[in-house]
């Protein structure tokens, strides 16, 4: 009996110690960089004694889960690494803590971070100096290709004979199409291969992120630079229409069979399994691809090709403190630690994409990995989708209309873009912007 009492006492005591321990919860998407962050955070816990619990949500449910949590004023998360497009709603609806005073107090300068990432991940309204997040994970849509196939002399000469230029990193979307279609249906090492795994996902944001990579390269603008929310003739300009038509052509001529609802993981799987010569994906996945290719013989990487202009679709996230958290002080302590240049360097070393200038401007950075230069190039030319508080309302019609045109083959590109503008006008009107 005495032993039982002692055991009971010990377990009660340990429970009480445990419940008194300082801890915070960080929410992010479930992917490789999140694992790297978990590894990095061990040092924070060792330094401060603050435990960090992680909740990683698979990408297809990430936005739903997190935005529901914020809209319900949930206290599950103290820190949130949220998509760049959420910054508008985070600021306007008061989900995120404004960080200006904290940055001033702790001497954290946004000038120490890459301007494109500060603009995209931290500020609202855009271009202002109101900060709601610290740039956490720089990212952009880019391409990986099968370097080992490209290096084969017989394929190189056949390609040159057919197209009159060398098989290599494509300098334009036209060249990309030439190369993708060159590999489409081709037998290599006894297996049938295909051109490119591109974004076609319908449910969340996949096909929009993919098609905008082409639209930006053709020079599309969302709105009249001199008259906000005036989209007619800009979003559906002849260049934008041509880009959407091109994306459909790329899908029809170069995607592997059944690649009709594919995004990050599906593209990665198609590439890793040797089905395709190219994959479109976020930089966040390149450390994983590169890790499996130690001598750099199999895979090469390049930034989004130029067509009329150099541009790339922005990905990435900033880290924000959730307004409804009871542990804002601990969450801010984490941000203070994460902003340190030495921590940012370790973040990059572990496979995260630091946005800190000390890391990016280091002379050794461009050669630190095979994709580092591409990342630098991309971050200088990124463009993002609307970051308005109503971004989900803006995203869904685009997903539907573009998928209907590109995958379903229904209607025309101009018709799809006109339909999107029609829906967007309705959204902006309801939001009082028009």
């Amino acid at each position: 009996m005495k032993k039982i009492m002692i055991l009971l006492f010990v377990s009660l005591f340990s429970f009480s110690v445990n419940s008194n321990a300082k801890s915070i919860t960080l929410g992010w998407a479930a992917w490789d960089p999140a694992n790297a962050l978990q590894e990095l955070t061990k040092e924070f816990t060792a330094e401060t004694g603050i435990e960090v619990n992680f909740e990683f949500v698979p990408w297809p449910n990430f936005a739903d889960r997190m935005l529901n949590e914020l809209n319900n004023k949930g206290k599950t998360f103290d820190l949130l690494i949220g998509d760049s497009q959420w910054i508008g709603s985070g600021a306007v609806y008061g989900h995120y803590v404004k960080l200006n005073d904290f940055f001033d107090k702790e001497g954290i300068s946004m000038g120490d971070f890459s301007p494109a990432t500060v603009h995209a991940y931290s500020t609202w309204p855009k271009g202002s100096k109101n900060y709601y997040a610290l740039p956490a994970m720089g990212d952009a849509l880019a391409w990986a290709y099968r370097k080992d196939w490209f290096d084969r002399p017989e394929l190189k000469s056949e390609f040159k004979k057919k197209h009159g230029y060398d098989l290599g990193v494509p300098a334009s979307w036209n060249q990309l199409h030439d190369m993708c279609s060159f590999f489409q249906g081709r037998e290599i090492d006894g297996q049938k291969r295909y051109g490119a795994a591109i974004n076609t996902e319908r449910g969340s944001e996949g096909i929009t992120m993919g098609v905008t990579a082409a639209m930006y390269a053709w020079g599309m603008e969302y709105e009249n630079p001199n008259k906000p929310y005036d989209m007619e003739g800009f979003f559906n300009s002849p260049q934008a229409v041509e880009a959407v038509e091109f994306y459909r052509k790329l899908y029809e001529d170069c995607a592997p069979p059944g690649h009709s609802d594919a995004y990050m993981v599906a593209n990665l799987d198609a590439y890793k399994s040797g089905q395709v010569a190219f994959q479109m994906n976020w930089y966040a996945f390149w450390p994983g691809v590169s890790k499996e290719d130690k001598d750099g013989r199999v895979s090469g990487f390049f930034a989004n090709p130029k067509q009329n202009v150099a541009a790339a679709t922005l990905g990435g996230q900033g880290i924000s403190v959730v307004k409804y958290s009871d542990k804002q002080d601990l969450a801010l302590e984490y941000i203070k630690w994460f902003a340190r240049p030495d921590v940012q360097q370790k973040w990059w070393d572990l496979g995260g994409y630091s946005c800190h200038n000390d890391v990016l401007d280091s002379p050794s950075f461009p050669t630190s990995t095979v994709y580092a230069q591409g990342f630098l190039d991309s971050m200088g030319i990124v463009k993002d989708f609307w970051q308005e508080p109503t971004f989900v309302e803006l995203m869904l019609p685009m997903q539907e209309a573009i998928h209907d045109y590109v995958v379903n083959g229904k209607g025309t590109a101009k018709g799809a873009l006109d339909k999107i503008i029609e829906e967007w006008v309705e959204v902006f009107e309801a939001d009082g912007k028009l």
């Binding site: 809209n71 609806y93 319908r202 009709s260 989900v392 869904l396 995958v407 379903n408 229904k410």
Partner: protein, 299 residues
Amino acid sequence: MSVKKKFKGLSDKAVGWLFIGPTVLLLLAINIYPLIYAIKMSFTNFYANKIGRVPEFVGLKNYIKILNKEAIWEKMQVTASFMFWTLLLQAAIGLGLALLLNRKFKGNELLTTLIVLPMMLSPAVVGVFWTYLYNPQVGLFNYVVNFFYDFGSFDMIGSSMLAPWSIVIVDTWMWTPFTMLICLAGLRSVPNYLYEAAEVDRASKWQQFIYITLPSVLPFLLLALLFRGIENFKMFDMVVELTSGGPGSATELASINLKREAFEKWKTGYSSAFAVILFVTIFGFGNVYVKVMNKIKER
């Protein structure tokens, strides 16, 4: 203290209310109140995510907007087509299987268990693994189809012509056993003497089926179809996992569209109006259907 003593002084009616009271309260709280609240919301421009913004009364604006929106009617057509084909196939195949399993043969129990297995699975899981079965490169479904006739590579999920059939096939595969089980219960309730009398009257097997089996099993079949109809009207998880409503909006059922409007766009007022319209539709159809079913039973 005995129950009799405890309730001494209470009328039978009061005791009855005492028993059903908690259930009624629970129903009011989780069914009736949300319904009334949703109806109220449907007359406003409420956005649940726009904190601090006071909803304004907009009258019938949401209803008019929904009923005049071409895209909504497209979703309703997709839903109607999905319901029509799934119910038709499940009725025909379910009844056929029930007739087969109503006979005594070796392995009857094992076959019944195997046929019933799909409906024990989670619809979301079914949706996910059928995406693999439909894969044009490695999918078993495409392989089997091409085994019988070489159609070449085809994409069940990526083609607007085939995608609506892809969800019909999966739903039929999953829920035909349900129709079958209910029909089987109906078949087993038909007294043998009816068939014996028919044999005496020299009725053919076809006549026995038309005049004895079918009328006896029809109320059961209609009941099964009522359940399946209600379920398929609000079908969501399996289709989302399988096609996400695509390609484009080829398989975007009304329930998927409602979820997107309510919990992705957060148009609470608008989606409440849409939910009320869907509720009235299914409630109306359900009532008419039950009346027809009762008339058939009375015959």
